[in-house]
């Protein structure tokens, strides 16, 4: 996808709205304007029906009961609702809330906030490849551990955490497992995730749906332990009050359906472009490092560090390529990425990293152009570094 004269390769940050998602949203910004919680008339019923259809699409991708899928304003809210909700719900039996240093900031901060309810937040380190060491996790688990929260796919470096093994460890001790699957949902097969996790966070705008909508899957037997996140009208099973937006729900649901249909094709495309990008980068002058495990990785994420430059210079010379140097919500922040820091990437290299994200609308020609832009930018930025 091109925006003006620039190529968009920041698909981990957000994705363009799929035309099919856009199409299903249109009636709900048209004549079907009902409040889905208006139970006394047809405008309400048709809006409610649309919300239910959307819920069904999201549930099908996870292979779960739609009644256990609760819509939120996005993955940030879902993660807050899961972690702080359980922390509050279990404040009478406090214990450890365990998560990982490379989680999204909303997970880390929610875990830290659980201390206010008497819990002990524990942030585990990762290996240099970005993966959680299972022995480290096992050693951290205690009988009083309330929750383990591990993301499926890292938003910055794309590594896929070993959730099956993590779930086995948690299950053996009867500990609840939450998974932020915002970056995995619709990109990888996730239908086994619900068998492993008690809580799963999802986002609409990472799967070609609209921004402002996400969901939390809550396993039935943990629902009563979760304190309501938003009180009021009692919508979404009293867990999350507030009028739902049928347009956003419909767009999210359609995006989930489209993602499910095209999953194999998308994975093949990601693999092809990963190879094309890696081969292209290897053919360039100078040294680069792929951050995060190469095998256990979402192939649409290529996070690389370049020697002899920094990302500010690189980005300045990459005006025709929309990429990022980390998570979008942290883009405005100074300093290197805490995720790369957690991997032990030296500060100099961490500050010279790019996250190149490919997606549904990326084609071979865009990748070839992107590579040539990167090559030019590297040459320019390194020249300046040397002449300093």
């Amino acid at each position: 996808m091109r925006v003006g004269n620039a190529i968009y390769m920041d698909y981990q940050s957000t994705t363009p709205l799929d035309p099919a998602a856009r199409e299903v949203m249109l009636p709900f910004i048209g004549n079907m304007f009902g409040n889905p919680h208006s139970s006394s008339h047809r405008f309400g019923w048709e809006a409610e029906a649309a919300v239910d259809v959307a819920r069904g699409h999201v549930a099908r991708l996870l292979d779960v009961d739609p009644a256990q899928v609760f819509f939120t304003s996005g993955a940030t809210e879902s993660n807050n609702m899961a972690i702080k909700g359980l922390a509050l719900g279990r404040q009478d039996t406090p214990g450890r809330i365990i998560t990982v240093a490379t989680e999204h900031s909303c997970v880390l901060e929610s875990a830290l906030a659980s201390a206010a309810f008497g819990h002990e937040p524990v942030i585990l380190p990762v290996q240099p490849n970005g993966l959680l060491d299972l022995d480290v996790l096992e050693a951290a688990l205690t009988d009083d551990t309330v929750l383990v929260s591990v993301m499926a796919v890292n938003n910055e470096i794309g590594v896929i955490q070993p959730l099956e093994e993590i779930a086995a460890l948690a299950k053996a001790r009867g500990i609840a497992l939450h998974c932020d699957a915002a970056q995995a949902f619709g990109k990888l097969p996730v239908e086994t995730l619900a068998a492993q996790c008690d809580l799963i966070s999802l986002s609409g705008h990472k799967i070609y749906g609209p921004k402002g909508i996400g969901a939390l899957y809550v396993k039935a037997d943990i629902q009563r332990k979760l304190a309501p996140h938003m009180s009021g009208g009692g919508q979404e099973g009293h867990l999350r009050s507030g009028t739902l937006a049928p347009a956003l729900c419909a767009g999210f649901g359609k995006a989930a359906e489209v993602a499910a249909q095209g999953l194999e094709q998308e994975m093949a495309r990601a693999r092809r472009h990963f190879t094309q990008l890696m081969d292209g980068l290897e053919a360039m002058d100078g040294t680069f490092h792929l951050n995060g495990c190469e095998d256990q990785r979402l192939k649409s994420n290529i996070n690389v560090s370049f020697e002899g430059t920094d990302s500010a210079r690189l980005m300045a010379n990459l005006r025709r390529l929309a990429v990022s140097s980390g998570a979008a919500c942290a883009s405005a922040k100074e300093g290197p990425s805490y995720v790369l820091e957690a991997l032990g990437v030296p500060p100099g290299l961490a500050e010279a990293s790019l996250r190149i994200g490919t997606g549904r609308f990326t084609d071979d020609a865009q990748v070839a152009d992107a590579l040539s832009y990167i090559e030019d930018a590297l040459a320019k930025s390194r020249k300046r570094t040397w002449s300093k």
Binding site: A6, R42, S73, S110, S231, G232, G233, A245, M315
Partner: protein
């Protein structure tokens, strides 16, 4: 043959304004994450901040005082969480999204006219530790206008922060944060022809707001999460034509038409200063659930209180707080918008008579 549907439930939600739809369609083509520093991201950020400025101007505040939320419920929660639970006060007729956070002992009573009892409020607030008082500008069930300025003055005199849930008053009357004397003000887009899923909390300048959600640095760290770009643009679009809702004169004849027909004694809060676009009216002896079914058969969309968790008749707490007791189950709510005509009201009233007469015949 099905009759055309007649929508008289504007207090629940409003049809999307064409200006809002156009703005949202522009948003469909905007790709970037507003937090991304590349051009696509900055374009999205600029679009959001343009709406922020328009909204700030509407309330006489600066852009930094506008925080976008997922709607009125979240904005209310955000305001109320600025103080500890036991220090929160609210009128007994607030929306559930406010009352849910307030201990029952801290509910402030209303008069039989459905208006905050200022004397009783003063008695309670003057004794309490400084906290936060929440009062809606327009009641969502009855349309009764609440004495926000007077209550705010009184609350502030005793050291309380003041929150105004202005969801139903937004667009109907001028709302200037300073003139109201409020520290926080809640609005929602879908009551003024904007989309559902977007609202805002307006905050007093310089107030160190504690975020409800934890996470990224969006909204100056006061509301993390990727912004609802399409929703914000829709709110901006609705704001362009908000004056369609602000002409109270268009609603007065509609209100009078209803009152003349059903009788003043059957109108809740009839003696209150009121917003003419929301009316709670009683059909004596007939349960509102039955009325709603009959109105639906006639293609008329009305409700019984606020639209909340499905199946439940919510909003009865308002009429109960006014002392209606079991009679509160005989009230329905009709609410008007700029599209409503006197002909529409006549059709509603004809159905009203039919339902009333057939119930009488069956009795």
């Amino acid at each position: 043959m099905t009759k055309d549907l007649l929508y008289l439930d504007y207090a629940a939600t409003t049809p999307l304004a064409p200006s809002a739809r156009a703005a949202m369609e522009r948003g469909f083509d905007m790709l970037g994450n507003p937090s991304s520093i590349h051009r696509a991201g900055r374009a999205a950020r600029d679009a959001i901040n343009a709406v922020r400025l328009d909204l700030a101007n509407h309330f006489g505040v600066t852009q930094g005082q506008v925080i976008f939320t997922s709607g009125g419920t979240e904005a209310n929660a955000l305001a109320l969480h600025q103080v500890q639970q036991e220090r929160r006060f609210a009128s007994a007729i607030e929306h559930e999204a406010v009352l849910a956070w307030v201990p029952e002992a801290n509910h402030l009573p209303v008069t039989p006219n459905g208006v905050l009892d200022l004397e009783a409020a003063e008695a309670k607030l003057s004794e309490a530790e400084p906290g936060l008082v929440s009062l809606m500008a327009a009641n969502n069930a009855t349309g009764a206008r609440q004495p926000v300025e007077a209550a705010a003055k009184l609350a502030a005199a005793h050291g309380h922060l003041v929150h105004c849930d202005a969801v139903q008053a937004f667009g109907k009357i001028p709302l200037d944060l300073a003139a109201l004397g409020a520290d926080f003000l809640t609005v929602s887009a879908h009551k003024i022809g904007g989309p559902k899923g977007i609202g805002a909390l307006i905050v007093k300048d310089g107030f160190p707001l504690q975020s409800l959600l934890r996470g990224g640095g969006q909204e100056r760290r006061r509301r993390p999460g990727t912004e609802n770009l399409i929703g914000i643009l829709g709110l901006g679009g609705a704001l362009e034509t908000i004056e369609r809702y602000g002409d109270m004169a268009q609603f007065l004849p509609l209100m009078e038409q209803v009152i003349a027909h059903v009788g003043l004694q059957n109108v809740a809060a009839y003696g209150a200063e009121r917003f003419p676009h929301i009316l709670s009216i009683q059909m004596p002896g007939i349960k509102n659930q039955l009325q709603l079914m009959r109105f639906d058969l006639d293609g008329i969309c009305v409700s019984a209180g606020s639209a909340c968790s499905s199946g439940k008749v919510a909003g009865n707490h308002v009429l109960e707080a006014m002392g209606y007791g079991d009679r509160s189950e005989e009230f329905i709510r009709v609410s008007f918008g700029p599209e409503t005509t006197q002909g529409d009201v006549a059709r509603f009233l004809a159905a009203w008579d039919k339902i009333q007469n057939s119930a009488k015949a069956a009795a």
